[in-house]
Amino acid sequence: MSESQPPLVRVRGVDKVYHRGSEDIHVLLNLDLDVHPGEFLALMGPSGSGKSTLLNLIGGLDRPSQGTIEIGGERIDEISSRQLAAWRARHVGFVFQFYNLMPVMNAERNVELPLLLTHLNRGERRQHVETALHVVGLADRSRHHPRQLSGGEQQRVGIARAIVTDPTLLLCDEPTGDLDRKSGDEILGLLQALNREQGKTIIMVTHDPHAAQRASRIVYLEKGQLVSERPS
């Protein structure tokens, strides 16, 4: 994790403006940020500070009003929305606060979902799904539907879904926001392990200082700008 390596994520001069009626809301202002391969970065800040917006921009869910976003050498602010979708499928895994699993499918099928976009055949998909569920410790729950799982278990399925394609970047939006302390700790431990043992680069939005402690670096946002930065 030497500083000499080129950054994996390179955000330069990014503005994000939303239009609400006739009013312009500046969510991000001339923001710069680098994230290096293998980092576990926590994005903190009060609500409305723009941390989720920044995460969405990095994940290619939204486009900056101004500035550039380069990920692994690719300018994702420039490519078409179709290319962007394909890029997300290949490079990004998302973990959501409310897990956002498909209620109509069991754990296995939920994890398999992003693999449907690959060329893997049925057997290969099954193998990847098994591995991912094993990593998150839910191998024995693969046939359960979301409503049959606890919050912590659902989030593990969410993480398995995010890592099953072996993405470059893992983006987590308040992954413990809906969990009790114990389950939250387990999820954070899992993320930490993924970071340390498998070298996953993780960016996590959180407003919980306790969660942020698990990251290797913490960045604070306020009113759309980086205000301070420190290693945890």
Binding site: T53, N56, G59, L61, D62, S81, R82, A85, A86, W87, R88, A89, R90, V92, F94, F96, Q97, F98, N100, M102, P103, V104, M105, R109, L113, P114, L116, L117, R122, R161
Partner: protein, 385 residues
């Protein structure tokens, strides 16, 4: 195909709603099929018409009769391959409501003119040899339970017997079946000679002629020649293709095609609206799931496709079940042979049904799928939290 589970799973998110929508689509296509069958039955004569056959009738009205001698004169006209005559007997069996088409014909020539009436050779010979013989269509025979060898008395309000006796008696010598599904097998044919000798008036007169032309391309020309032959005679004729004759006959009832079409259109639009609303509702409820799919890397097109596929799948399962049920019902035969002598689901109509199923699936989902496609990912996800 690997997306099938996703589509199928989404479909059953609200089983009750999906079932109800499916049932309304099912009923709509049941109705569609039923109307097709009824229309086919009411206009059966048109599809039965041969391209090489003409009908020559009295110009003033089909009710007026023509001399039997016209047959020989028509046969001499160049381009005419064969000619037979038929007359309207109007027979009823026991009760006026037991009504069916019954006609005196020349047996041998008639069967040659209409190869679509299929009769076993032995029965054909028996009929030709028996002056009081008759052949009945399969559906007619089933309607009254007639068997070969039965003696059937018919009354006619038009034709009374010269000897004053009430009923005309016929022997059932044969039961014919149709070469095609569209063939009407509800008719009753018997010897012209028996009829002509027995009737009390209008002897030597027949209802109308059917003419086979050698070359269908010259049918119009032959028709004009026939009518010119009898112009300025006491019995002027009007000759037209069998199809046009049958069509005019069907149109007498009313514009059946247009009536059926407008009912079908009303049904289709109504159900379309109901189905479209269901799909829209299902998509609205899933906003955040669609956002997740997009975050996972599903392109807008794929999301559009998934919504469309879901709607198409529902329409296909329910619609095809409706069409299939009608098809099964028609295999069982006509529930009302008197009104609907021909009872089957024509293949072209079935194909139109399949096309409408697809159309319903696409149209019901078009707007919601478009909205799902256009939905911004970040926005969709935000709406969830």
């Amino acid at each position: 195909m690997k997306f099938f589970r996703l589509v199928w799973g989404n479909l059953w998110r609200k089983p009750l709603r999906t079932t109800l929508t499916g049932l309304s689509v099912f009923v709509a296509f049941l109705l569609f099929g039923l109307l097709c069958v009824i229309r086919q039955s009411l206009t059966a004569g048109i599809s039965m018409a041969g391209a090489d056959r003409l009908v020559t009738r009295q110009k003033v009205s089909i009710i007026q009769m023509l001399p039997v001698s016209y047959g020989d004169r028509i046969a001499q006209i160049p381009g005419v391959a064969a000619v037979v005559h038929q007359s309207w007997f109007g027979g009823i069996y026991k009760d006026p409501k037991n009504f069916f088409p019954s006609m005196p014909v020349q047996p041998e020539k008639y069967l040659e003119m209409y190869p679509e009436f299929v009769l076993p050779e032995a029965q054909r010979k028996a009929w030709i040899a028996d002056r009081r013989g008759a052949i009945v269509g399969r559906s007619l025979a089933e309607r009254f339970g007639w068997k070969i060898g039965d003696t059937v008395p018919l009354m006619s309000p038009i034709w009374r017997r010269a000897d004053g006796s009430g009923a005309w008696e016929f022997h059932v010598d044969g039961i014919y079946s149709g070469a095609k599904k569209s063939t009407d097998t509800s008719q009753f044919f018997f010897h012209y000679k028996y009829y002509d000798e027995g009737r009390s008036f209008a002897k030597g007169m027949v209802g109308w002629y059917t003419v086979r032309v050698k070359d269908p391309a010259k049918a119009d020309e032959v028709a004009k020649t026939i009518d010119a032959e009898f112009a300025n005679s006491p019995y002027e004729t009007k000759t037209e293709p069998e199809g046009a004759f049958a069509q005019a006959f069907a149109q007498q009832v009313g514009n059946i095609g247009a009536i059926m079409m407008s009912i079908q259109a009303a049904v289709f639009l109504t159900i379309l609206f109901v189905a479209a609303n269901t799909v829209a509702q299902a998509v609205r409820e899933r906003t955040e799931e669609i956002g997740v799919l997009k975050a996972l890397g599903f392109s807008n097109r794929m999301v559009f496709g998934l919504v469309l596929a879901e709607s198409l799948l529902l329409a296909a399962v329910a619609g095809l079940a409706g069409l299939g049920l009608i098809w099964l019902i028609t295999l069982g035969g006509s529930p009302s042979p008197a009104f609907l002598p021909v009872f089957y689901f024509p293949i072209p109509d079935f194909m139109v049904g399949v096309f409408l199923v697809a159309l319903l699936g696409v149209f019901a989902a078009a707007l919601p799928a478009w909205q799902a496609m256009r939905m911004g990912v970040a926005e969709a996800l935000r709406r969830a939290t």
